[in-house]
């Protein structure tokens, strides 16, 4: 078949096994840190293990992505390969959506059912007898048992820093799109400018988020330990923040690759994947802003 493009099946590769060792050592180290820490034992060896694993992971990421970039630039990838990458990235983002869905689901379940039930709403058997006098409210300032979980003094209102952060992230979604259009038009100076602007917005976002966390911990006593409000607040915003960091790293690598002259007008899926991820992070934030901060 003359018109058939060969699908590139790579040679043997050491990266999967390096990645396995790296991930296994990192997570075994992380678990040891927690378990030994809880038992009051020394965690030095565990931290060492954790960092060794993390270094192996970093080495693997450079090496593996490096091979893929080299193969792509050598012209080994067909259009069909490009579609495999697109499907792969799309479904990866879908899996991330479902991960956040678990935490959003927990938030909704707690707000709509659990807290009112403990407060005596409905007739749910013994639930409302556990802590007589507990008043259901959201945000939950007074926990059912303040002896175990000391509630926060106050929670973070939506119209200060969170609103600024919303504006920052939504703007960054536009700037990354402008950069994408510039890349398609072949205007590389413009790509660099707007991609750098996107990264700058992301960095400011993370800085503001860090400031907000410091305020919550230092002034409001809003912590991971301050009951279910703090738990859902920090887990949702924290995982989102981690994804912002990852997305920023991806965009930064794309900037480096643009500066090195990678990508063409019609072949730049690496850039698009990073942009897709960035939009996903942005959409999750909009959900957070509405359901964690505003409502």
């Amino acid at each position: 078949m003359a018109d058939h493009q060969t699908y590139y099946v790579p040679e043997q590769s050491k990266w999967p096994i390096v990645a396995t060792v790296g991930l296994g050592v990192t997570l075994y180290g992380a678990a040891s840190i927690m378990v030994n820490g809880n038992q009051g034992e020394s965690t030095g060896g565990s931290w060492f293990m954790f960092w060794i694993g993390a270094l192996i992971m970093a080495y693997m990421l450079f090496g593996w992505f490096g091979s893929v970039i080299r193969e792509s630039r050598a012209g080994l990838y067909s259009d069909q390969m490009d579609r495999s990458f697109r499907w792969g990235m799309s479904w990866f983002i879908f899996s991330e959506v479902m991960f956040f869905a678990a935490f959003f689901g927990a938030l909704f379940y707690v707000r709509v059912f659990v807290v009112p039930w403990i407060g005596g709403e409905g007739d749910k058997g013994s639930t409302n007898m556990l802590w007589e006098g507990f008043q259901a409210s959201w945000p939950l300032i007074n926990n059912p048992d303040p002896q175990v979980y000391q509630g926060p003094k106050e929670v973070i209102g939506p119209w200060g820093l969170p609103l600024i952060n919303t504006i920052l992230l939504v703007t960054s979604s536009f700037t990354v799109t402008i950069a994408h259009h510039a890349l398609k038009a072949g205007n590389r100076a413009k790509v660099k400018l707007w991609l750098a602007a996107t990264i700058a917005l992301a960095v400011v976002f993370m800085f503001v988020q860090g400031y907000e966390y410091a305020h919550a911990y230092g002034d409001l006593d809003l912590t991971l330990q301050s009951g279910i409000y703090g738990s859902t607040f920090f887990m949702l915003t924290g995982f989102h923040g981690a994804h912002v960091m990852l997305g920023t790293l991806m965009l930064f690598i794309m900037l480096v690759r643009i500066i090195k002259g990678h990508f063409t007008e019609d072949n730049h899926f690496g850039f698009e994947a990073a942009a897709w991820y960035w939009h996903f992070v942005d959409v999750v934030w909009l959900g957070l802003f509405v359901f964690v901060y505003v409502i």
């Binding site: 078949m1 058939h4 493009q5 060969t6 699908y7 099946v9 790579p10 043997q12 590769s13 050491k14 990266w15 999967p16 096994i17 396995t20 060792v21 991930l23 296994g24 997570l27 075994y28 678990a31 927690m34 378990v35 809880n38 593996w64 050598a74 012209g75 080994l76 579609r83 495999s84 499907w87 792969g88 479904w91 990866f92 879908f94 899996s95 479902m98 991960f99 869905a101 678990a102 935490f103 689901g105 927990a106 379940y109 707690v110 659990v114 807290v115 749910k124 058997g125 639930t127 802590w131 926990n143 048992d145 175990v148 979980y149 991971l224 009951g227 279910i228 738990s231 920090f234 887990m235």
Partner: protein, 527 residues
């Protein structure tokens, strides 16, 4: 073949590399499929030996062999290893071997990621099994790891267990992404979606379920991790959380998970029954829609595992009716398999024996599922041996017989040799009798009120438990025969033709047996 890629990968068309590096560094879907299958069988024996400890302890009332604490570790590890280590990897192994052959693709879409998906599994299970040797012992809270048993009252090793689950999840998600990308993007020209073999269809839908629910499991164990180590109160009502929240999140994963373990078997059976009936499958399109319907419904039924925790009446009714609805598409499938056999030219080689047993016994498991789905009745059955009987009837003669049927069906293609038919039939009959002896009495025990997950029981349950243990040991020992049959088949035997089953259809039978190391480098044309 004149593409640029070939000049870069000359060795690519040679055979496999020599030595251990072949397995560690491979990107070949057949090698990776074999590793998945071998790993899964090793885990099947490990999880099975834990079941033997359980059945030995339950042979008689009273405590004789193990302490209750260790018994709990055995029930927990048996469940986790069988679900995540034996059944799921076996189906991924079958997918790796067969999907590219069935759709005419040169390999899986993302071959290096494929190898990573596999190697994460031994890593995860190394961590999981190592918890047996840790201070405080292995996880002991059941494979469903309900909070607060697993959070407030769990052993220190729970944190290691959580990270092991995370690694398994990463492996499953990457494996599923690979399967979807392969099926959607790598089909031979002319193979429209509604021409895909059913094993391909069922795996497409299974992969979707995996990507949708494995992250939710990751969320559940992450909440546990935070509750245990960082003072959050997701599952602690004194901070405004709720232990029942755990059950909701877990079963939102858990119910689709049980379909993940059975849908690929549905697909394989839909190949085997027509092959040995020498008739095309009855109702192809309705089979596809039925699998789709089962998958969609699986997201709407999770709370039927939780009827007794105190969910509102409206919830009980919704989840009861939604669950009963699943019987409709499942009934369509059973009807179609039986109709395929109707007036067929039947023969009963080992794959067909397992397939027929699958249809009958899985239906029994389905019926006991309907009994459990009826909320008011479930108040009686909940947490008894009736539940154990139910899910072992769908998992052992369902998932595992499906895997055995597939293995015998495709062994000639994998090895180039026919397996020993007499031994295989012996394996079937011993497994069939052993498994029914082991699990059928559990229905009666459960209806009479014997609770699950206990090392001791009241005297009136003695006889059925003894029968059950004898059956379990019979089933367990028989699996060593399977190991022998497979090793014998790999080492030699009657040469297998490219298409050893005269009723079989599909692209996988157009390549020689054993399938060459690289197949379909040029895609075939499907008419």
């Amino acid at each position: 073949m004149s593409s640029v890629a070939d000049t870069h990968s000359q060795e690519h068309h040679h055979g496999p590399a020599k030595g251990i590096s072949r397995w560690l560094l491979t990107t070949n879907h057949k090698d990776i499929g074999s590793m998945y299958l071998i790993f899964s069988f090793a885990m099947f024996l490990l999880g099975g030996s834990m079941a033997m400890v359980i059945r030995a302890e339950l042979f008689q009332p009273g405590l004789q062999i193990v302490q209750p604490e260790f018994f709990n570790q055995m029930t927990t590890m048996h469940g986790l290893i069988m679900v995540f280590g034996a059944v799921m990897p076996a189906f991924v192994g079958l997918a790796n071997w067969m999907l590219p052959l069935m759709i005419g693709a040169p390999d899986m879409a993302l071959p290096r990621m494929n190898n990573w998906s596999f190697w994460l599994l031994p890593c995860a299970f190394l961590i999981l099994v190592s918890t047996l040797f840790m201070e405080g012992g292995a996880p002991n809270f059941g494979w469903t790891f309900y909070a607060p048993l697993s959070t407030t009252y769990g052993p220190p090793s729970t944190t290691f267990f959580i990270f092991a689950i995370h690694i398994m999840g990463v492996s499953s998600i990457m494996g599923a992404i690979n399967v979807i990308a392969t099926i959607l993007n790598m089909r031979a020209p002319g193979m429209k979606m509604m021409k895909m073999p059913l094993f391909v269809w069922t795996w497409l839908i299974t992969a979707f379920l995996l990507i949708a629910v494995m992250p939710v499991l990751a969320g559940a164990v992450t909440m546990m991790l935070m509750d245990i180590n960082f003072g959050t109160s997701f599952f602690d009502a004194s901070g405004g959380g709720d232990p029942v929240l755990f059950q909701h999140v877990f079963w939102f994963f858990g119910h689709p998970e049980v379909y993940i373990m059975i849908l690929p078997a549905f697909g394989a059976i839909s190949h085997i029954v027509p092959a040995f009936s020498r008739k095309p499958l009855f109702g192809y399109a309705s089979m596809v829609y039925a699998v789709g319907a089962i998958a969609l419904l699986s997201f709407l039924v999770w709370a039927h595992h939780m009827f007794t925790v105190g969910i509102p009446l409206a919830g009980q009714l919704f989840f009861m009716y939604a669950t009963l609805l699943i019987a409709v598409p499942t009934g369509v499938k059973v009807f179609n398999w039986v109709t395929t056999m109707f007036r067929g030219s039947l023969s009963f080689e080992a794959p067909m024996l397992f397939a027929v047993a699958f249809i009958i016994l899985f239906t029994i498991g389905g019926f006991s599922g309907l009994m459990l789905a009826i909320a008011p009745a479930d108040f009686q059955y909940h947490d008894t041996y009736f539940v154990v009987a139910h899910f072992h009837y769908v998992l052992v003669p369902g998932a595992i017989f499906g895997i055995f049927a597939s293995a015998y069906f495709w062994l000639p293609k994998w090895t180039g040799h026919m397996y020993d038919e007499t031994l295989a039939k012996t394996h079937f009959w011993l497994s069939f009798i052993g498994m029914n002896l082991a699990f059928f009495p559990m229905h009666f025990l459960g209806l009479a009120g014997m609770p699950r997950r206990i090392p001791d029981y009241a005297l009136q349950f003695s006889d059925f438990n003894m029968v059950s243990s004898i059956g379990a040991f019979m089933f367990g020992v028989t699996q060593l025969l399977f190991l022998f049959i497979v090793v014998k088949c790999v080492r030699g035997g009657e040469k297998a033709a490219a298409k050893p089953w005269d009723g079989a259809e599909g692209l996988e039978w157009t390549v020689p047996s054993p399938a060459p190391y690289h197949t379909f480098s040029t895609p075939p044309e499907v008419k």
